[in-house]
């Protein structure tokens, strides 16, 4: 399997890239999971990408992106700004299938959104998250953390998500529940039907299938 090589490109080591921006409990986690950092074979983001990370406390211009969204300096497309244009997520979500051709084909995709439902164990409600605005796992994980006010821990291939009580999982189109990060991003985003932020204890047996 070439998984090792293909995973080199995906850095889920959020601490090293300092995507956390001083969130609660981050200091605690540092001391606990020290060894987990070096063990990872994933490389840190290059210098240029780090420069683009917005900080909530520096003086800002209206152009700075919100919510710590990682601004990737290299690709040509603009990173999406949260909540702009101001179209309710209910509406965006329902634009995915606005037309059918009278044969059996479904006409997908020009809704500009790939919304999947996300639930969290213990939280009394579901939310929907737009996968199409993210390009890699760290961004998605950050968004999930923001959305559910929870810390998700660090991913490693062998141990799954360590350092937190929760692990993000998803159901793929075959109905299997997988750990987020087990497959390449593109495969994930095209097969993910819904996500669930599971308690770590329950997530133990998952993934790496």
């Amino acid at each position: 399997m070439d998984r090792l090589e293909s995973y080199e490109c995906r850095d889920l080591n959020l601490k090293a890239t300092e995507l956390r921006l001083g969130l609660l409990g981050s200091d605690e986690r540092e001391s606990k999971s020290g060894s987990g950092v070096t063990k990872s074979h994933k490389r840190a983001f290059p210098e240029t990408a780090e420069d683009c990370i917005s900080s909530t406390n520096s003086s800002r211009t209206p152009d700075t992106d919100r919510n710590g969204e990682l601004q990737d300096c290299t690709p040509p497309a603009k990173a999406q700004v949260v909540g702009w244009p101001p179209v309710r997520s209910y509406r965006k979500n329902n634009l995915q299938q606005t037309r059918k051709i009278s044969s059996d084909h479904h006409h997908h995709g020009n809704g500009g959104g790939m919304y999947v439902k996300v639930s969290m164990d213990g939280a009394p409600y579901l939310r929907k998250i737009d996968l199409s605005v993210h390009r890699r796992y760290p961004e998605l994980l950050q968004a999930l953390e923001n959305m559910f006010m929870v810390s998700i821990g660090q991913y490693s291939e062998s141990e799954g998500y360590s350092g937190s009580d929760y692990a993000p999982t998803y159901e793929d189109k075959d109905g299997d529940w997988m750990l987020l990060g087990d497959v390449p991003w593109e495969m994930f985003s095209s097969t993910c039907k819904r996500m669930r932020i599971m308690r770590s204890s329950e997530a133990k047996g998952l993934g790496c299938q």
């Binding site: 921006l21 001083g22 969130l23 609660l24 909530t56 406390n57 003086s59 800002r60 211009t61 209206p62 152009d63 700075t64 919100r66 919510n67 710590g68 497309a77 603009k78 999406q80 700004v81 949260v82 909540g83 702009w84 244009p85 101001p86 179209v87 309710r88 997520s89 209910y90 509406r91 965006k92 329902n94 634009l95 299938q97 606005t98 037309r99 059918k100 051709i101 009278s102 044969s103 059996d104 006409h107 020009n110 809704g111 500009g112 959104g113 439902k117 639930s119 009394p124 409600y125 579901l126 939310r127 929907k128 953390e145 923001n146 959305m147 559910f148 006010m149 929870v150 810390s151």
Partner: protein, 592 residues
């Protein structure tokens, strides 16, 4: 009425003639019963003490625009005979993921108070509040006369709550679920729970309940609901099933179709019902919406009813100009139209040609991203301006606009009350002249004397806000995003717009000095929202100290609360309140 009146000394007993004061009170109460406008009622209550009391006794609809502005206890103590409540919770920007998911606006404490104070309660209307299944059960148990539940943009409940409501509220007339986030962990067949021997249902809307339904149960429900006039289905109802419903309910006035397409299992060439005849039989139909997953071939089925339609919502239907034209050319009575921009300028030109009575138009983007193509432009706007002179309300998403078009609309549509233009690409100027959009919006506030709601976009300098401050006296709601050059812009608005009640601003370079400029006015407003501006923690504190009856909430994106050492504040949300800081704020929301 008499049982609630305080004892008036010397005027008790049936044997004595009522004293003059009591006669006056009787008359007043009887007259006030006819006053429905809450603004009129508020004015009445300020005349004098006895008018205040009389008004309080006769107010039957309680409207609370911000659930944190007043407590349930205070409201129920003043107004004793309420049978209908309207409660609004989160501010509008919560719809665009700008608010922490866990924030507040819980219905439960209000419900507890209402259950005790208004056992005769008949109607509840909530917007942007969290209501749980337990709350729905509580409603069913506490209010034996309960008749109408309308939930708009709410969350926290699921089908099990709906099932309880359906089965226990025997007098239920209205159950309207509009754009709510409905939990789907636990799928209960709630449609089967309505009373078997018939219902009083007049309106049932569940398009936002994105779960498969028991269609047979729905069909039987419609059959035993003779008063049903409004039915809005979800996308799990195919067109064939729709047919079966409307032939049983030709008395419908409002219909939200489900998926306007045959089910997966349908084989082309199979015999299909006469959809056209079914629609033709619905001679009272005035409102159509839905059209999810539309197969445009089926659209001709609605032609027979188009001549009666006053409201048409195609905003989930990807129609091109030709397809829209074929429908609207029959819709000469249309007043409200919602479409996607896939209809293009050409589609809007067709609307302008036929729909001379149009009062509300909304054009939504099929691709709601900043750098999307955008299929309508100033051409469509000008056509509408010239053809639909009675226009009162417009929401228009586009990527290209000109000042000239906006000016044209301001000059031709004198009745404009709501003008919301969203140029999706940030900071975009007039695409022909490259000028800022200042003059266009300036013309709107100058020429549209009835304007109460304005949303601006595109490249805007302080000049635009100078116009708004100077001419926007009637504006009550203002939305600003990615606009303005300096604090002056916000100062113009706060100093000039004396009727401003709701101000929502994001990503604009306004700081503490501008914030101070509104101190004289904040008590007259429902709220001020500022996110990603240049407000500091210190500046926010100043406001909070200066205005003790203002609740000043600050929060930031991410998990943590705003710390003392933070210089800037991500989001400032402040509102007047009689109650002081609320006690249900989560830890990441800090109240100064």
């Amino acid at each position: 009425m008499g049982e609630n009146r305080a004892e008036v000394p010397g005027c008790g007993g049936d044997s004595q003639p009522p004293c003059p004061d009591q006669v006056l009170e009787n008359v007043l109460e009887n007259v006030l019963r006819f006053l429905t406008s809450r603004r009129d009622r508020n004015a009445v209550s300020l005349v004098c003490k006895s008018w205040y009391l009389a008004e309080a006794l006769t107010r039957s609809e309680l409207f609370i625009g911000n659930c944190y502005a007043v407590s349930a206890r205070r409201a129920t103590e003043r107004f004793r005979r309420v049978n209908s409540v309207v409660l609004k919770g989160k501010p509008r920007f919560a719809d665009f993921s700008l608010m922490p998911l866990i924030w507040g606006a819980h219905f439960t404490p209000w419900l507890t108070a209402f259950a005790a104070a208004y056992p005769w309660l008949e109607k509840i209307h909530l917007k942007r509040m969290s209501i749980t299944d337990d709350d729905l059960a509580q409603i069913s148990h506490s209010f034996p006369h309960f008749k109408e539940l309308t939930l708009v943009c709410c969350d926290g409940f699921g089908t099990s709550g709906l099932a309880i409501l359906a089965s226990k509220c025997r007098q239920l007339r209205v159950l309207d679920l509009i754009e709510d986030e409905v939990e789907d962990d636990d799928v209960v067949d709630w449609l089967s729970c309505f009373p078997d021997n018939g219902t009083c249902l007049e309106s049932l809307s569940f398009d936002c309940v994105e779960l498969p339904i028991n269609f047979d149960a729905l069909e039987r429900l419609v059959a035993r609901s003779p008063n049903l006039k409004q039915l809005r289905l979800n996308q799990f109802v195919s067109i064939g099933q729709l047919y079966r419903l409307i032939v049983r309910a030709p008395q419908l006035t409002h219909l939200g179709t489900g998926s306007f397409s045959p089910p997966e299992s349908w084989v082309p060439g199979e015999q299909e019902p006469d959809y056209r005849a079914a629609f033709a039989a619905c001679s009272s139909l005035v409102y159509l919406s839905g059209f999810r997953e539309i197969v445009p071939d089926y659209l001709p089925a609605i032609y027979p009813v188009c001549g009666n339609l006053t409201s048409l919502n195609f905003s989930y239907a990807n129609l091109n100009a030709e397809e829209l034209k074929a429908v609207v050319c029959h819709c000469y009575k249309l007043q409200t139209l919602w479409v996607l921009d896939t209809v293009r300028d050409e589609g809007l030109e067709a609307v302008a040609t036929t729909c001379k009575d149009l009062t509300e138009l909304r054009v939504f983007p099929i691709d709601a991203r900043e750098d999307s193509e955008g299929f309508v432009s100033e051409v469509g706007l000008i056509a509408i301006a010239e053809g639909c002179r009675k226009l009162q309300s417009i929401l228009y998403f586009c990527q290209r606009m000109t000042n000239a078009a906006v000016i044209a609309m301001s000059e031709k549509c004198h009745d404009l009350v709501v003008f919301r233009l969203c140029i999706m690409g940030r900071h975009r100027p007039d695409h022909l002249t490259n000028e800022p959009m200042d003059e266009g919006f300036g013309a709107i506030v100058m020429n549209c004397k009835k304007l109460t709601r304005l949303a601006v976009s595109g490249l805007l300098t302080d000049r635009a806000f100078g116009y708004i401050g100077k001419y926007g006296n009637s504006v009550r709601t203002l939305s600003i995003a990615f606009a303005g050059d300096s604090d002056m812009a916000l100062k113009y608005v706060l100093e000039g717009c004396s009727n401003l009640q709701k101000l929502e601003i994001r990503d604009s370079p306004f700081g503490d000095s501008a914030l101070r400029a509104g101190l004289h006015h904040y008590y007259n407003m429902r709220f001020l929202w500022m996110s990603s501006c240049k407000i500091t923690l210190e500046g926010s504190r100043e406001i909070s100290k200066a205005l003790p009856q203002l609740v000043v909430e600050v929060f930031r994106s991410g998990l943590a609360a705003v710390r003392d050492e933070d210089e800037f504040v991500d989001t400032l949300y402040m509102y007047r309140s009689l109650e002081g800081p609320r006690n249900d704020a989560p830890t990441h929301v800090r109240i100064l």
